[in-house]
Amino acid sequence: MRKYLIISVIIIAIAVVAIVFFFEKNQKPVVGILFPVDSATSYSDRMAGVLIAIRSLPDEVKFVDIDFNSSDLSTVVSKSINSGIRYFVTFLTSSQASELRSVVNGKNVILVDSQVTNPFVINEIKNFYTISPTDTIQASAIANYIHAQNYKNVLIIKGDQNPIYENYLSSQIAKDLNNYGINSVIKEFDQNLDATADSVVLIMSSERVLNIMPRIRSKYGNVPVIGSDWTLDQTLLNSKKSNGMIATCFADLSDLPQSFKESLYKIKMFPDPSMLLAYNATIVVFILAKNDVGSNDAQKFLDSRVFVGSNGEFTFSNKSASSKVYFYKISGENLTLLWSWR
């Protein structure tokens, strides 16, 4: 009987070691998909972008949903890092991203975001990368577009939900407009619209845009209203209030692959820039995770690669993707490309 017992123990020990070895060897890198669940803003387009991206990728990386509320972002990310997650796809505001500085700096983690565009935020978080151009580029593009359209008096209205983004981008646009000799006034979202303007720039979320658009139309009639990149999402597109508005985005919606369109049609959604950027961010994080890239090597790795996104190739430079800035006019059911800038 003792012989059987020893043999059983040996077999079990070998099995345990083999399982552990096999598990360790086959343990996939984990990517956290960080989404807020208490936001009034609909993230369905970005979520759909991530979903389509994951479905198109090989099963070599494990994706996990990480939900957070506006109040517990740092805690959730910290716990996720402690649980071994090194790669994150995020859809943060610049303010939210700034909160994570103390949590992620010095850690061997990489965050790839599709929304944060503020250069200071991007630079102050060492492991943070964005799939969008920085607000400096966006501001230049918007000022350039206004200058090209020969508008002279620009009213810049900034929202009240993402102050870092809203303050920097509005001031940067004003600065760039000033360089072109164009007058600009910056107004808060809830201030009276009493300035003279032949064009309006909205730096706020889509909910805020839909909220303020009636006031703008009431005050300034059909003046061109240019929304920053944050404004253009499914919410905006789904509302008639955005009709005639010009949206800034970092993706070419007119050149989407047919398979992407079919995937969207199946789930009864229309493509938007946020969706495409979310798709691209997911692809980038997947490649980072698959190649087991550490935080110290991430920038070098990203700068040395060409990535194929939802609508073509893109590269990284100085922690952000170097894509064009597109201006689309929202007219009823269609988005019409007006202008692009690099």
């Binding site: 669940v37 759909a48 991530v50 789904n238 008639k240 009864k268």
Partner: protein, 562 residues
């Protein structure tokens, strides 16, 4: 099948059964979860389809009270303009486009003031009617979520929001993402019902459901344990017996329990071995005893002639018989008494009494000797006396008889040598020996004696005349006369062929004439005419030696006239 193999078989079967039962319970739980989701999906679809069907045929009046569960309603004409709306002012491009295209549309979930809202739209006779509803229902299962096409979900019975992008991205309906198991079921539109369950709770449920099986298995194990202990108890004597065998150095009996048949067989073998050994030892003892007896018998055989060789008179013969009786008694302890009857003489030793010669209760043997009978009566111990001893004894007794016979023959032969066979008087040699000793006695005692020689004259002619038979008769007659004329202390013999010698002890010369006359007178009385001469010599007057005296007697007989 040995008990160990049986236990291993039982363990394997039990483990297999436990695994199978656990798997069965898992499948049950899975089926229950599937069924729950299927039912819920059917209910959800039925609800949405009901609403869709309801709004597809309705026309909004000016004042409308929204039914329970409907948060807002909007009517859009074919141009995309809002005709009427209650609690729902805007509609999405997707709503309009997909409703116009496919007849119905269900929007992703939106968060309106913290509450989940989905918009359902359908074409109606007047255009498109869309309603906003809260998808939640009262459910006891707190783990069920309704998830839209982008992976955004809300708990069906609470206000908990969650994203299920990674779950929706998987093709399988069962996704294990430790510590959760996600079971999903597509439902109306692009929605998915997701059941998020902790794997531990499933395991607990499965284990709970399998509890009766485990109790059964446990009971079987307990019973097996009892059986094992029982058999162990039963096996214990076997193990002890095996230990006994492993240490055994001599073939000996096992003193433990004999419950097992082979133990009993073993002990039977040992008993048989002991019996054979004892029998062998007994035979060896018997042989040894027989050898000892044989040695004693041989000694006695060798001693017997010597015993009887020294006999020179009757007393010594008796002593010899007594010695023989003693030797026979000493042959073995089984001989308790010996009795020998020779003629009318009885010699007994040990437990034998003269009476035993008359009763037939003891071992008896009668042997006819040369001139007598030799009867033996022996008291033999019936328990220790062996047959071979008896046979040896009988042989010995016969040999004793032979030796006695030899003694008798020798005695008889010796007697024949002393006496003349015709006259039965001493021979000349024997007469010479006796008289020689008598002369030595005469010298010491200074007595007188007379020597007489009687000679038959012309005996040859007598024989020629009357025959040798008649001559023998004459010789016997003269010998009888001499015997009748002499005392018991006197010695007479046949001196020659036709002469007789007589020694008269303490006989005076003066008495001789009378004696001579008496002898001659009686001889003359023989029926035939006989001429005898008598010569006498006297001691010590005529000589002091036998030869001198007999010579003198012969000379006087020759010179005597008839």
């Amino acid at each position: 099948m040995t008990f160990k193999r049986f236990v291993i078989f039982l363990v394997v079967i039990s483990v297999a059964f436990a695994i199978f039962d656990l798997y069965f319970q898992f499948v049950n739980i899975q089926n229950e979860m599937n069924e729950e989701l299927t039912n819920l999906s059917a209910a959800f679809s039925e609800r949405i389809e009901g609403i869709t069907q309801f709004i597809s045929i309705m026309q909004l009046s000016k004042n409308i009270t929204l039914p329970s569960g409907i948060k807002g309603i909007i009517e859009i004409n074919d141009d995309g303009n809002v005709v009427k709306s209650y609690g729902l002012e805007n509609y999405t491009r997707a709503l309009y486009d997909f409703s116009a295209l496919s007849g119905t549309y269900i929007s992703p979930i939106t968060n309106v003031d913290g509450n989940p809202v989905i918009t359902i739209a359908t074409k109606s006779p007047s255009g498109i009617i869309a309603v906003e509803i809260d998808p939640r229902v009262a459910l006891s299962n707190a783990n069920l979520y309704i998830v839209d096409q982008s992976g955004f979900g809300v708990n069906l019975s609470s206000n908990e929001w969650k994203t299920f992008i990674s779950v929706l991205a998987k093709n399988s309906n069962f996704i294990i993402d430790w510590p959760y198991l996600f079971v999903k079921e597509p439902t109306y539109g692009n929605y998915t019902l997701v059941n998020q369950v902790r794997i531990s709770s499933i395991i607990y449920s499965a284990l709970g459901a399998s509890l009766p099986s485990y109790i059964l298995i446990l009971a079987i194990f307990f019973l097996t344990g009892f059986l094992y202990l029982h058999l162990k108890k039963k096996d214990k004597p076997v193990e002890e017996f095996l230990d006994f065998l492993s240490e055994i150095k001599t073939f000996r009996r096992y003193e433990g329990s004999e419950d097992q048949k082979f133990v009993k067989n073993y002990n039977d073998l040992v008993n048989e071995w002991d019996r054979v050994s004892k029998s062998y030892a007994s035979v060896i003892d018997e042989i040894s005893q027989t050898n000892t007896d044989l040695i004693k018998f041989n000694d006695l055989y060798a001693e017997l002639p010597m015993i009887f060789e020294r006999i020179d008179n009757e007393e010594s013969f008796k002593d010899a018989i007594r010695i023989v009786a003693r030797r026979i008694l000493d042959l073995s302890k089984c001989v308790k008494g010996v009795g020998i009857k020779y003629g009318q003489q009885i010699f007994n030793i040990g437990t034998i009494t003269p009476y035993d010669f008359q009763s037939n209760t003891k071992f008896t043997l009668g042997i006819k000797t040369h001139s007598s009978t030799l009867d033996f009566v022996l008291d033999l111990d019936k328990f220790t006396t062996t047959d071979i001893f008896k046979e040896l004894l009988v042989s010995l007794l016969h040999h004793v008889g032979s030796v006695v016979s030899m003694y008798e023959l020798r005695t008889e032969r010796n007697e024949s040598a002393r006496y003349d066979p015709l006259t039965e008087l001493l021979t000349r040699q024997e007469f010479s020996n006796l008289v020689f000793r008598e002369i030595e006695i005469l010298k010491r005692e200074n007595e007188q004696s007379a020597f007489v020689l009687v000679d038959i004259k012309d005996f040859k002619e007598f024989n020629d005349r009357y025959g040798h038979f008649e001559g023998d008769v004459l010789m016997k007659y003269i010998a009888k006369v001499i015997k009748n004329s002499t005392r018991i202390t006197d010695i007479s013999c046949r001196w020659g062929e036709d002469s007789f010698a007589i020694y008269f002890a303490n006989f005076k010369k003066t008495d001789m004439k009378t004696k001579e006359s008496e002898i001659i007178g009686k001889i003359k009385e023989f029926k035939r005419s006989v001429n005898v001469k008598i010569g006498v010599s006297y001691y010590p007057q005529d000589g002091e030696t036998f030869e001198e005296l007999m010579k003198m007697a012969e000379e006087r007989s020759n010179t005597q006239s008839e």
